[in-house]
Amino acid sequence: MREILRVENLSKSFGKFKAVDNVSFNLRELEITVLIGPNGAGKTTLVNLVTKKLKPDQGRILFMGRDITNLNSYQITRLGIVRTFQIVNLFPTLTVYENLKVAALGSKTDNKEIEMIMSELRLDKYKDVKVMNVSFGVQKLVELAMALLLKPRLLILDEPAAGLPREDRKNLMRILKEIGEKITLLIIEHDMEFVFELAQRIMVMNRGKIIADGKPDDIINNSIVREIYLGES
């Protein structure tokens, strides 16, 4: 599989605390990679660095062979690295449709596709409702729809299942599997059921470093990982 993202020696510290400590990895096209690790392991920080929400202290980021280390978030988004957020992060005072429209404008997508995605994700009935008035589950779907409208080549999802009831998780899993056929996915997730259902590859982070990286089965049996999660040694 062709490499789509390459990260070289990426580091970020807050004061004395090394949130991301000289991390290197690469993502392969159309492979669903899940990033796991305990609280404060640096997962979200890593994503923030890749999408330039934060400036790295050092390191290089290449996307499809192009150095994007010094680009702004909006430029990176336009190149096709799209992310969602841990806490739903939308335009509360705008309607569902308007939210999607903003995304569509960001990628010069025409309105037909908005309609299509809305019906795919069963959002039609909320079309003209302000997002601040729809349920949390629906907001999560709007997040996803926006992400797709941005025509991502690499889609980064930060805890997509967080706060969703079981049945919604199942539904989300189904959708993500479909998306995974066409788009490279990098997912931060804690729900292990979710993780092992989806992941083709798992990266484990702890204390700012990637300490394990491989096929799911290898990860389950990886002693370090078991120690981190179960205190076994």
């Binding site: 004061g15 004395k16 605390f17 305990p38 609280n39 404060g40 806490i87 349920s135 949390f136 907001q139 805890e159 967080a162 706060g163 804690h190 729900d191 292990m192 059921e193 092992f196 204390r207 389950i220 120690e227 981190i228 999660y229 179960l230 205190g231």
Partner: protein
């Protein structure tokens, strides 16, 4: 009865983080709360001291309802909350941090020394110049000055070197025995064995619900079953 929680539901804005939590804690008890990330452990503590979360249900401390009291009143009743970052004031020296806790310019160091000798060398350093581990242990030491009856700990040993972890746990036991503080103690699942060393009872949170409660001996026997809740 030290702490009593009745059918507590807690929310961050629209998102529900805790579902129908019930908990009873006796004087002098150490209760460990374990669970995977995002299970709502921190939310539990924050609902007790009434910050950042909106909630329904009742919380009683020594039979006094504290559900809606302002945080500083709850603290005055004898509850001391230590957040996962320790909660020392950055930019203030350790001694200043202790003075605030004692609500006086004069803090007797001797006792602190007995619990944690290295404190002496830290007194005049700024809190943010301490290492993560030091910061957390000092914030626990600070409780000696605060003199609470109930200690709320959010992952006190997280990010500590193994040696420090053991030291901290001994410290907690000592506080529990000599300063008769009851302790509600949160840790990630990985720490379960450590927690069981001194906890009287453990409680597993998953996706905002209590999925397991048990005396420590019982829990030790059932540990493999418990792990299912924590991983896979």
């Amino acid at each position: 009865m030290m702490l009593k929680i009745e059918s507590l539901n807690a929310y961050y804005s629209r998102l529900q983080a805790l579902f129908d939590i019930n908990l009873e804690m006796n004087k002098g008890e150490i209760i460990g709360v374990l669970g995977p990330n995002g299970a709502g452990k921190t939310t539990l503590l924050k609902s007790i001291i009434n910050v950042e979360v909106s909630k329904t249900g009742r919380i009683l401390f020594k039979d006094v309802e504290i559900t809606t009291l302002p945080t500083h009143k709850i603290a005055s009743l004898g509850i001391y909350y230590i957040p996962d970052y320790g909660g020392l004031f950055p930019g203030l020296t350790i001694i200043e941090n202790l003075q605030l806790a004692a609500n006086s310019k004069y803090v007797s160091i001797d006792e602190l020394k007995e619990f944690y000798p290295p404190i002496i060398d830290l007194l005049n350093r700024k809190a943010d110049s301490l290492s993560g581990g030091e910061r957390k242990i000092v914030s626990i030491i600070r409780s000696i000055v605060v003199k609470p009856e109930l200690l709320l700990l959010d992952e006190p040993t997280e990010g500590m070197a193994p040696v420090m972890v053991d030291r901290t746990i001994k410290l907690l036991k000592k506080l529990n025995e000599e300063k008769n503080m009851s302790i509600l103690w949160i840790e990630p699942g990985a720490k379960i064995r450590k927690v069981l060393e001194i906890a009287d009872k453990i409680l597993i949170l998953a996706a905002g619900r209590i999925v397991y409660v048990g005396e420590s001996e019982k829990a030790l026997k059932e540990i493999d079953e418990i792990k299912k809740y924590l991983f896979i």
